[in-house]
């Protein structure tokens, strides 16, 4: 029995309110990344969703383009780019009165030259005497601009600002940083669950303690090790393998813990039966554990991958901040500092950095949630 009560309407409205609050920030970023960068700098992103009135200043061409026709010297041209879709409502010739004339009016400058403008921005500027100035006069237009979106920002950000390279770098950091812990922790978790040896319980307790140890506790000693290592062997330890191992170290406890919780739930009889049949631990691992653990692997892979992809601190400390090594988050942070006013670069860059997480999120949400619910605790 469904009740169509006031309380049900209220809860729908309340939920709708939450949803709107939660979606608007990301939506605004997305819309902004698709907008023309000049418009982005002068108007809010919400105005781009509807036809809006924009005030702009254009300069007409100078003396070079003049032609003689019907006894006039004429300069013809257009203010807007092709397909801009803008429609002029009114225009002016001084900054004081920008709405002085309507389409069809003839505006007369002080030097008695006249200008005619149609609504698509084509102008004809004519004078009885020859034009002598290199620069043309200014026109102030008020026009209606339809919603217009472009991928121009993406092209610029990916290829000119180095975000494209940072994307590849991040992938080169995140993939091994996810697969290596998955490989070594699955063996570790297996031995913690199914093998008997001295010190197993202590090791397990250490893992559980390590779950909550903050990353900050490790930064200084490891940075020292890396620097010493670099000085000793003459190779930069602050490079990709160094970051992989750091991520492996910081993700080890949670990966092991989650995998062990999963392995513990598998029936013991199956392992025993396999052992009786003469299977070695490695056989059991390859032929029984791995096929059964695919869903658990998927969840842990997603958690660790997103963690590495989204990480800033590890990439900042253990990688040099050069174009061939910088990761997306560090690059974005750098842009926030250096290009803080260039919102077309920031919004687009941020959206590029979000593409992979969002793809994973929408494609594999089930595994993501399962991993989180399984009790992910990350130091």
């Amino acid at each position: 029995m469904k009740k169509f009560s006031i309380s049900s309407i209220l809860s729908q409205l309340l939920l709708l309110f939450f949803v709107i609050i939660w979606i608007i920030p990301t939506f605004g970023l997305f819309i902004s990344s698709l907008r023309d960068k000049d418009l982005l700098a002068i108007s809010g992103w919400w105005t781009s969703l509807t036809t809006t009135e924009v005030n702009e200043i254009y300069r007409m061409s100078g003396m070079e383009s003049q032609i003689e026709e019907d006894g006039y010297f004429k300069i013809k041209g257009k203010l807007f780019e092709d397909n801009s879709g803008k429609k002029i409502e009114s225009f002016g010739i001084t900054s004081k009165k920008i709405n002085e004339f309507n389409i069809g009016d003839v505006a007369i400058f002080k030097d008695e030259s006249e200008v005619l403008l149609d609504e698509d921005g084509n102008y004809e500027w004519r004078s009885r005497t020859e034009f002598k100035k290199k620069k043309g006069k200014r026109l102030f237009t008020t026009s209606l601009s339809p919603p217009a979106f472009t991928f121009e920002n993406y092209r610029e950000v990916l290829f000119k600002e180095g975000i494209g390279r940072a994307f590849i770098n991040t992938m080169a950091v995140a993939l091994p940083s996810t697969l290596i812990p998955l490989i070594i922790c699955s063996f570790f978790a297996y031995s913690l669950t199914w093998m008997k040896f001295y010190g197993r319980d202590t090791l397990l307790a250490i893992i559980i303690a390590s779950l909550v140890v903050p990353l900050q506790m490790s930064l200084i000693p490891i940075l020292t090790i890396y620097n010493d290592f670099g000085a000793l062997f003459g190779v930069a330890a602050k490079s990709y393998p160094g970051v992989w191992m750091a991520h492996t170290g910081f993700g080890l406890a949670s990966t092991t813990f989650l995998l062990r919780n999963f392995l513990k739930s598998l029936p013991n009889e199956m392992m025993e039966a396999a052992k009786v049949d003469g299977a070695s631990h490695y056989d059991i691992f390859l032929r029984i554990i791995i096929p059964l653990s695919i869903p658990a692997f998927a969840s842990i892979f997603i958690l660790q991958f997103l963690w590495c992809w989204n990480d800033l601190l590890v990439g900042l400390v253990f990688l040099d901040q050069v174009p061939s090594e910088i990761i997306l988050t560090a690059k974005l942070k750098e842009l926030l500092g250096s290009r803080g006013e260039n919102w077309e670069i920031l919004t687009t860059g941020a959206f590029v950095s979000m593409t992979v997480p969002l793809f994973i999120f929408f494609a594999l949400q089930r595994y993501f949630i399962r991993g989180l619910v399984a009790g992910s605790v990350k130091g």
Partner: protein, 327 residues
């Protein structure tokens, strides 16, 4: 490093670990039984093969650093000379440190509480509405993106232009349309902390939401039905049945978010870099790792202060683990 090289070393790195396990086990499987007659002995070698890589990593990246950080906190900035409690005394008297610890405390108070609260409310609302799962997806989405990405998103919301310009930041546009002066939100001391916390709440509510959604399903349907038949309002059900029933889950989520908030770094680093009195411990620590060539003593003290925050949680986890082992 060219992209091709990069792809190559990525493969090499992953292959190395697969090869280690495969080759060592292959040797054990094919030659082990012949040379090492006793099953037990072979087995203990296998244990070593299985455990060693993980243990080495665990030792280098967690165990050794914890003790080394504690040691360094008693040494000078280069980690060479013993200075006793000097670094700790410095911290107590440092205004920046006090500011950071105060900010951290406010973060710890506000973010886990509000995230848990919103998560619980939304989970409960979404559970009863047909489009609830879409709503949950949307609110959960910020969990997937990076703190820096979220920082950019929200910096755009908080963007400030002088009063004579058109505001392109949503918050200021709303403020202006209501007839107030636009504000540079991130530079107003004390309040700016809350604007930064809003970002974290925006992200972490999703975490609370999904865990609560899973937990809500464990509440017996009959109990809720019975309460409804008895005429209890949804609000009453929420406070008298759902909250008491989910007490454990609430605690778990609250702790989970507390741990995350305790080492919060990225958001503040990206948004304000700790300026305008927004610094927290992790930012101050990062600062001291590199400021003036780096001071490992002071940095270590700051790391230890963060660590002290998680010790109660650590002890509680170990205690629970013990209890489980006994059963």
């Amino acid at each position: 490093m060219t992209i091709l090289n990069l792809v190559f070393i990525v493969f090499l790195g992953i292959l190395f670990f697969i090869a280690y396990f495969h080759i060592s086990n292959y040797i054990l499987d094919n030659y082990g039984n012949k040379t090492l007659k006793r099953y037990n002995f072979e087995n203990s070698i296998r244990v070593i093969v299985f455990i060693t890589p993980a243990f080495i990593v665990l030792f280098i990246f967690i165990l050794y650093p914890v003790f080394e950080t504690i040691r360094l906190s008693f040494y000078d900035k280069f980690g060479r000379e013993f200075v006793g409690l000097y670094n700790y005394k410095w911290a107590i008297n440092d205004p920046e440190f006090r500011r950071s610890i105060l900010n951290n405390l406010v973060w710890l108070l506000v973010v886990p509480t509000l995230s848990t609260f919103f998560g619980l409310v939304i989970a409960n609302l979404a559970d009863r509405i047909w489009w609830g799962s879409i709503a949950k997806s949307i609110i959960f989405m910020p969990m997937a993106i990076s703190f820096v990405g979220a920082g950019v998103i929200w910096k755009f919301i908080y963007e400030y232009r002088g009063p004579e310009n058109t505001q392109i930041g949503l918050l200021n546009a709303i403020i202006v349309s209501l007839g107030y002066e636009p504000q540079a939100w991130l530079t107003i001391p004390m309040w700016n902390n809350f604007f930064l916390m809003a970002i974290m709440i925006w992200i972490q509510t999703g975490l609370a939401l999904v865990i609560f959604s899973a937990a809500l399903r464990s509440i017996p349907k009959e109990m809720l039905e019975a309460a409804r038949i008895d005429g209890a309002s949804e609000l009453k059900i929420f406070f008298s049945i759902i909250i008491p029933y989910l007490e454990q889950t609430i605690l778990v989520i609250w702790t989970l978010i507390t741990i995350i908030v305790l080492r919060i770094f990225d958001i503040i680093f990206a948004m304000t870099n700790g300026e305008w009195q927004t610094g927290v411990l992790a930012n101050l620590m990062y600062d001291w790792m590199f400021r003036g060539g780096g001071d490992s003593g002071r940095g270590s003290v700051l790391a230890i202060v963060i660590m002290i925050g998680v010790i109660p949680i650590l002890a509680w986890n170990l205690y629970k683990h013990r209890q489980e082992q006994k059963i």
